[in-house]
């Protein structure tokens, strides 16, 4: 199964465009019933095949929805929302204290990608984007160095394998 990475800087994620209302409702309604509150993982039963753009939008909606209605519960657990899975894929989410959101889509066999996302943030993003004065934080990331290092890092992950053609 392939791994695709989307890095969302919180100011430039399109929320409503591209998300079909029925898909969104199907995913949001079972939210409160099927979450596993103690470990921060959420699972859904409806088999949904979505494009990566839609899944990013849904993830953003999810994070907004969760942060608003699970605030009191999130205070009790130290981890917060970690990931959700559907029957086809799993989406991992990492938010930094500065408000940057990192999203990673993997297949179902990957349980915890938090360390991966944290490594991407501290060793790749901070080193190559924050310290790069030419990359403005409000625009899309154009640094080739960042793309190539990120690509090499993902390929070196133990759970990465090229998609079978």
């Amino acid at each position: 199964m392939c791994v695709c990475v989307c890095v969302c800087v919180c100011v430039c994620v399109c929320v409503s465009a591209g998300v079909q209302a029925d898909v969104r409702d199907a995913l949001l309604h079972p939210l409160l019933r099927q979450q596993d509150v103690s470990s921060g993982h959420v699972s859904f039963t409806s088999p949904v095949n979505m494009s990566s753009c839609q899944s990013v939008c849904v993830a953003f909606l999810m994070s907004v929805h969760l942060s608003s209605c699970l605030w009191s519960l999130a205070v009790l657990r130290k981890e917060g929302f970690l990931s959700f899975q559907t029957s086809k894929y799993r989406l991992h989410y990492y938010e930094t204290p500065s408000g940057l959101k990192f999203v990673l889509n993997t297949d179902l066999s990957v349980t915890n990608a938090r360390d991966t996302l944290q490594h991407i943030y501290s060793n790749l993003y901070v080193e190559l984007i924050v310290k790069n004065p030419v990359c403005a934080s409000t625009q899309t990331l154009e640094s080739e160095l960042f793309s190539s290092r990120l690509d090499a890092f993902i390929r070196a992950l133990p759970y990465y394998s090229p998609r079978a053609a």
Binding site: E127, L128, K131, N132, P133, V134, S143, E144, L145, S148
Partner: protein, 157 residues
């Protein structure tokens, strides 16, 4: 110098500030000169601090070797990788992984921004040499990032 991050971030911000406050002016070479002059003053002060306990230098080559080893290590946490000279007053210092450029790119991207990030360091070297009694002109060139070369031309008074 304890940590490189504050210096790198401050350096990037100084460059952006100078370029932003000079928007509208047609002469772009002025900004590079300003950065070089800032580096000059910093280099003068820094070399005083670094050489307060060392013995006097025997000759020019000794001075250049000090710049390549101790001075570069103090500022960039590594030594110059290659020093070449024609023994007639021209020295070329080559750094294969220049600290202020390594976050920008590897290869050709952002090449047009590279001279801005080298101006301060040229001034730094020139200031250091000037307080050691050597008058010089320092220029820089970049062919493939993050490797760069600094050319020092000694001026005989």
């Amino acid at each position: 110098m304890a940590d490189e991050a504050p210096f790198q971030l401050l350096h990037s911000e100084v460059i952006q500030y100078i370029y932003k406050s000079a928007e509208g002016e047609t002469e772009s070479g002025r900004n590079v000169t300003k950065l070089e002059n800032i580096g000059f003053r910093v280099g003068q002060g820094l070399i005083e601090r670094l050489t307060k306990d060392t013995a006097r230098f025997k000759d020019e080559l000794d001075i250049m070797k000090f710049i390549c080893k101790d001075f570069w290590t103090c500022v960039f946490k590594k030594q110059i990788d290659n020093l070449r000279t024609n023994h007639q007053g021209i020295y070329v210092l080559q750094d294969n992984k220049f600290g202020l450029l390594s976050h920008l790119s590897v290869g050709k991207q952002y090449m047009e921004h590279a001279p801005k990030y080298l101006a301060f360091t040229c001034g730094l070297v020139r200031g250091a040499l000037s307080n050691l009694g050597v008058k010089s002109i320092v220029t820089s060139e970049v062919s493939v990032m993050p490797s760069c070369k600094f050319q020092v031309m000694i001026q005989k008074a």
